[in-house]
């Protein structure tokens, strides 16, 4: 009696080329991943242009900035990978499928952003204490370029944003952005231009979870989308901040404008990322879904009012990925209660609240 299971052969072609085309098909088959992929390409090409220009003009600042952008792209890549992984079929080990990859990717991206924000902030504080000479010749051009890339990101994803209510999952990751490159560690060089707003970007694919099989996307999703959108906005503001600060430095020589702008950016990033982190941590910790907080007590009451039900025990409700709720519950019922009736009623009560997968264990009281 060996267990049989079918592998998802169709997505894993045997050869390398087959594999790649399979991946591409998978990416292009859906709007979220397609958007991310396009934006990733855009970013990469921007980074390459910057890199080659940097090598050509032998500007260390530009080169290190472009490396930073590559690093930023990894976040986008992670978002892309997550949006593909989340569509893998479930297998015996991952009985719920891989939908949680999105939550995880959102969480990772959020953490990254938090780190970045923290580093920018600490560096800005350092620079407030002793403002360094900022070289701004090329910085301005680069940041305008980054700003444009960002704008494209915003429009692409805002578009997706509107659509998403129509049921597409969509848009995962944000925009581009903002470059906080400074920070993490490459010291000197990029301090010079810490602005680099080039379109970096971290993509948060989180919440998007683009399964098209999810028919209803409602208010809660909207809130998450709003958070993501705010985040994009914050990043663009970041580029604007860099542009402004380089303008101020250029015309008035206010060296302090640079750290103040980056502090502002850091705070915006941190604030915009907190809701995302809170949500994803909640999901990963099997929190009772926020949307069900108000509904559940009513449901328990209705269930316990069913004929023959004595009590509701060990209710566990949690979120699999956004909008998919799973619940387990134990009912203590009288010995001669009609368990079929109770079972189907319980299911329908919780279905109304939005819990699609429910496990009801009916315990007959021994009396």
């Amino acid at each position: 009696m060996l267990p049989l299971h079918k592998h998802d052969k169709e997505y894993r072609g045997p050869g390398l080329i087959g594999k790649i085309t399979g991946w591409m098909r998978l990416i292009f088959s859906e709007k979220t991943s397609r958007n991310i992929f396009m934006f990733l390409l855009l970013n990469l090409s921007f980074a390459f242009v910057e890199l080659s220009y940097g090598i050509w003009t032998n500007s260390l600042g530009l080169i290190s900035d472009s490396f930073h952008m590559f690093f930023d792209c990894t976040a986008l890549l992670a978002g892309l990978a997550a949006s593909v992984i989340s569509r893998w079929r479930s297998n015996e080990n991952y009985s719920y499928g891989f939908v949680r990859a999105e939550v995880l990717a959102g969480f990772v991206n959020g953490l990254f952003l938090l780190f970045i924000g923290f580093f920018i902030f600490s560096e800005a504080v350092e620079r407030l204490v002793e403002p360094p000479e900022v070289r701004h010749e090329r910085l301005f051009l680069v940041s305008v370029g980054g700003f444009l890339v960002n704008l494209i990101g915003i429009f692409a994803f805002q578009h997706g944003h509107n659509h998403s209510h129509g049921g597409g999952g969509d848009h995962g990751h944000s925009h581009g952005g903002h470059g906080h490159s400074h920070g993490l560690g490459f010291e000197e060089n990029n301090h010079k231009d810490h602005g680099h707003s080039h379109g970096g970007d971290h993509g948060h694919s989180h919440d998007s979870h683009g399964h098209s099989h999810e028919p209803k996307q409602n208010a809660s999703q909207k809130q998450i989308m709003q958070g993501v959108f705010l985040h994009i906005l914050a990043d663009t503001l970041g580029s604007v901040g860099v542009i402004i600060s380089s303008g101020l430095i250029h015309y008035f020589g206010w060296m302090v404008a640079d750290p103040v702008c980056s502090m502002f950016i850091a705070i915006l990033i941190t604030i915009s990322v907190l809701p995302l982190l809170r949500d994803s941590i909640g999901i990963l910790m099997q929190r009772t879904p926020r949307e069900l907080d108000d509904l559940l007590p009513g449901c328990y009451q209705r269930v316990s009012q069913l004929e023959g039900v004595y009590s509701v025990q060990e209710p566990h409700f949690w979120t699999l990925c956004s909008e998919v709720y799973i619940g387990t519950i134990k009912l203590e019922v009288s010995a001669k209660a009609d368990s079929k009736y109770i079972l189907s009623q319980t299911h329908s009560i919780f279905l109304q609240a939005g819990v699609k997968q429910l496990y009801v264990q009916i315990d007959h009281a021994m009396m």
């Binding site: 499928g97 891989f98 990963l284 910790m285 009772t288 519950i329 699609k356």
Partner: protein
Amino acid sequence: MADYGDNILPKHAIYRGPSSTAAVYIGLLIVAKILRGVGLFLAYDLLKLIPVVLFLFVLKAGATIPLVLLQKPFSSGKPITKNQWFRITRHAFVGCILGVLWMFGLSLCGPLRTILLYEHSDILVIAWGSTLFTNSGASPAKIRGAVCFLVAVIALLLFDHDEKLDNLSDHDSDHRHHNILTYMFYHVINIVGWSDHKGGVVLLFLTLCLNVGYNSAAKKLSVDVGGAKRLHSLSSLIQAMILGPWAYIVSSASDSQVSWISMIFPLALIILFVFIFDYYIEAVSVVHIQATKTAEYGAYAMFGGALFLALTWNHPYTATMTSMNKLQEIITEDHVLSAGVVFSLGAFVLATKILLGPVRSNKGNFIGYSMDGMPMYSFTRDALQQTSQSLVMHLKHSLKQVLEDNDSRKIFYFLCINLCFTFVEMIYGVWTNSLGLISDGFHMLFDCSALVMGLYAAMMTRWKATRIFSYGFDRVEVLSGFVNGLFLVVIAIFVFSESLHRLAEPPEIDTNRLLAVSVIGLLVNMIGIFAFRGSHGHSHGGGHGHSHGGGHGHQTSHHQSHNTNMEGVFLHVLADTLGSVGVIISSLLIENFGWNIADPICSLFIATMILLSVFPLLKETSCILLLRCPSDMENDISEALNKVLNLEGIVSYRDPHFWFHTSSKVFGTLHIHISPDGVEQKLISQVSAILKDGGLHSVTVQVEKDEYFQHLSGLGANLDQNSTNFPLLNFDKSNSVKAV
């Protein structure tokens, strides 16, 4: 209470929205506060010419005249007894000392810093103190505000580089040492090693606290005397009398040739702005708008005005305006506007907002008055569950909790060692003025954040499950392991890329002192490794009882259970150790052989090691987070499921979901389909027993009979949807039953 009639409430109980009259008072208040700021800026300029005590005497004397004229404390009101006179004199005496301290602080720190530190209302300071040190009024928001306030003061103390002033004070400090007070002050400051304005910051902060105590102590006296205003005028009269002789001595001792005529106008302005105008406007505003609002708006206006003035005070335009007063010779640029000041201004504003903000859900919502006229509150859940604690109590509690458990105790001790080392390093760095040591210290501080997270997670896992987190908080452990792992990956990548950079162009490295620091760091980390290795090794034996609870006894599974949180912390410490080893080796090589390239190669090696060691942890935690079925339990589970099938009365099962909740707990859910004559209760207990034998901690079994399926298919597409969302698991095709 009984006096109140049907719906006559005490005035302050009714919330009055911002009306037009309130707006007028707020406007007045703002103007008064800004003028007070102007006065203080003027006063600072004058203080450079006139000794503190003499200046204060002139001010008090000048302020007394209009106050006495306006209040007529002698001709109106009830007569004052001898005892009251004594208390007023005492009040005035303390007021004098505080005033001198205040002016002295002003002369040390400059007007902007003085305003930031000293111009806080009593309510704010009292709210701050009660949040930190007592049990009342400590809601999380208030604690946040209090911490913000502290941060602001500390920022003013530490991050404020006022170099110009430091230079300046070197010159004139010799001629300032002309009275005992200043002499003692400078002596103390010299011992501590601060610059003048830092001493001034501390002085002003202490004076602020004293002043609040003084004002609250004066409340009873002012009632006895017959009004705060009367007390104020009397007290300022006596203060002027007390200061008179002292000022005379000071002025005769010092040979200042000040032309008093040119100062009459600015002095009059200061007296008017600082002592008269502000006092009356504030008194009026408190009556017409709420006291907290008054304090809040006043503080905002004061800070904003002070910032504006500080930016423009030395500007040519202002200089021409003040030159009307023939004072331009004393206007020198000092007390630059540093970033630390701006930061602490922001923090003060935030603290003011939070601390003076409305108290939410702490005491419940006020809903009205009962029949007897007693106020009624509706307590929200939070208010009932969370007993409010002061910060100190809270710390004591959590410390006890930390020390209770083996894991968290280890982390805590190690954290303490690490922090000590960091502080020693930083202090040594500051002392020897070595930038490398200081930045290394900050690095270690950052590393400590991983430890703090691990500690917090270890504590959180022991929290009880709540209604919201119905499975408890065990998963924090996994999350913290994951975050720690990610952290390490980021660090490793940065080390890697930086060492590539350096490989291309090896920089000169300054190796002196580096060796000693890294050896000590290695020792500290070794302690950590041994401590955590212990728990790490033990965990395979099934120790670390907390995560198992009672369930461990009858658990027969062989799956390795270990604490991912501890593993994350352990890896972090390991990475640090590797780092110090690398630094030691490379600095030895550089010193002895001059191989500068050894440093990047070592870092490359270390980064690779870190990455390799972290991947298992990342893989494990992300599997758990993705709800993977435990790999080493696959066989157990499928065996158990087979056993379930063999039970009498069971037709099939579907939707088996088993997943790691934490690395040691496995939860599962299952639907079983039984024959119409099967006994449900017996089957449920049998199935759960079998599954628990298979190593599961918590199982929910749903029993379904044929009629149920028919019923559901009648209800609609519920099960269809499920099966398309999450394709059924086919452990064995013949056993899986499609829903419809």
